[in-house]
């Protein structure tokens, strides 16, 4: 909900990060998705209060299903199940399934689950997808398909998977995990507490030590004007010494591409391309999945009859969603890595097919 952490706006936790970066990190952090959780009617215990077995929640994109369980459980215990049923139910056997019959992974962020379902489900429905529609989840109370879920539903398993992803992202960026391993135990725990409590400042107090910034941390520049919000970061300007921790100085950006119904592609994504210009989302997609993102051919040479030729139109086949937002092809990969990555450090690009 939009009230999450709003009162922390003026704190100084992210003092060394440019305001524009903080703004996008804040927008990413505050993003929520609507979920509709319905207990499988065949599994409802005797004496349940039928008709109330549906729970709606506006969940943070950066959160995880195991972290929602206490809230869902409390609702079911208070409103739906009677005491006898509450005693027999084993919460570690609960699991969620989408309306397409896909078990929902415990270790995927809720935003990723939502976007991945949106691009996959749109293959099957003839209705135009309207954003903001609740993701319908069936809650099963027994027999989890462990071979598909892979992890136990515990918060601890989710935390371990999350920390693993943070380290993998660190390794992609710098070729080692020194930044992650140099965090103290309290800091590592704190980063997860930030997720659990949905506290932006607590999370970024630690996360800013491992996530690259879009400007040199040593220059205390004046607050950016509205123009520079969309401008190139100072670290990429010629004449400025590239910052060691800058978004454009990483080896690669942690990126995964999700295609409808399945394949997940991961490859090395350098921040700059060979000619020294920043790698863009459009270039990246045209390089890795050219059949879905064909390169725009150049316009034909001008002639006397056609002095200003236009490039031939290419039918757009696919679109890219990042944090639920339609991402423009000119978005720079390094910038996406610093500003629109998930809490685990990964930029998740969900590719949908255009109708």
């Amino acid at each position: 909900m939009s009230t999450y952490g709003a009162r922390h706006y003026n704190s100084q936790a992210t003092f060394s990060t440019p305001a524009s970066t903080t703004l996008f990190r804040r927008l990413t952090w505050e993003g929520t998705v609507p979920l509709e959780v319905r207990v499988d009617s065949k599994e409802l215990p005797a004496n349940s209060d039928r008709g109330l077995e549906c729970y709606y929640v506006q969940a943070p994109r950066v959160s995880y299903l195991p972290l929602l369980m206490p809230e869902i459980r409390r609702f079911l215990m208070d409103v739906v199940f009677d005491e006898a049923a509450a005693e027999i139910l084993k919460e570690d056997e609960w699991w969620f399934e989408s309306e397409d019959g896909i078990p929902m992974k415990w270790h995927w962020s809720i935003g990723l689950i939502y976007d991945n379902h949106a691009i996959s489900h749109s293959l099957r429905t003839t209705r135009v997808a309207i954003s903001g529609v609740p993701l319908k989840l069936t809650l099963h109370l027994a027999s989890p398909p462990s071979d598909k879920l892979l992890l136990s539903p515990s918060v601890e398993a989710c935390k371990q998977a999350f920390m693993g992803q943070l380290k993998e992202a660190d390794f992609i960026r710098w070729g080692n995990t020194k930044r992650m391993t140099s965090l103290r135990k309290a800091e590592q725990d704190g980063i997860w507490e930030g997720i659990k409590e949905h506290n932006f400042d607590d999370f970024w107090r630690v996360a800013s030590k491992v996530t690259p910034t879009t400007a040199p941390t040593r220059t205390q520049s004046p607050p950016p004007s509205s123009a520079s919000v969309h401008g190139r970061p100072p670290s990429a300007d010629p004449g400025n010494v590239p910052d060691r921790d800058g978004a454009y100085s990483v080896r690669c950006i942690p990126v995964r591409v999700y295609l409808p119904d399945g394949p997940i592609l991961q490859d090395l994504v350098p921040p700059m391309v060979e000619d020294g210009s920043p790698n863009t989302l459009g270039q990246y997609l045209a390089t890795h999945i050219p059949l879905l993102f064909p390169l725009q051919p150049p316009p034909p040479p001008p002639s006397r009859t056609n002095p200003n030729p236009q490039a031939p139109a290419v039918q757009q086949l696919a679109y890219a969603l990042i944090q639920g937002v339609l991402a423009p092809p000119e978005a720079e990969m390094a910038w996406l890595g610093a500003c629109l990555a998930g809490a685990d450090g990964w930029v998740n690009v969900c590719v949908g097919l255009v109708r």
Partner: protein
């Protein structure tokens, strides 16, 4: 609606509310099918014991790239004769535990060293 004449719409919905979506172009569907095809290539995975984990006699294996990392973990457990519940922790490059649903292909592309994907295994959490 009972009572309403069939050709007098009581109230028309805005056009977007009942708009039928167009078909997805054939070209896009076939592109998606191409990317869904499983990569039959095999890559070399090299297992390295950490701490007091038992050493494997053979530690180079060719594993199908489209397998998930979970399959590598299961293979390793079988080779070590591990029973269900015996602790086993796996890492890439002595650095991190990948997600079990990551594919060997993805991990190989990002983390291979000299043409090998190095998988470290330990009986205790080492870089957790």
């Amino acid at each position: 609606m009972a009572g309403a004449a069939p050709d007098t719409p009581i109230r028309s919905l805005p056009s977007w509310a009942h708009q039928e979506a167009n078909q997805i172009p054939e070209e896009a569907i076939s592109a998606l099918e191409t990317y869904k095809k499983k990569d039959p290539a095999k890559v070399v995975v090299r297992f390295k014991a950490v701490g007091n984990a038992p050493i494997m006699k053979q530690n180079f294996y060719k594993i199908t790239a489209s397998n998930r990392f979970q399959a590598v973990i299961q293979f390793l457990r079988k080779e070590l004769g591990w029973k269900t519940g015996d602790p086993l922790f796996t890492y890439i490059n002595l650095a991190f535990s990948p997600a079990p649903d990551d594919t060997v292909s993805n991990l190989f592309k990002s983390f291979a060293t000299d043409g090998h994907l190095i998988v470290n295994y330990s009986t205790t959490a080492a870089w957790g």
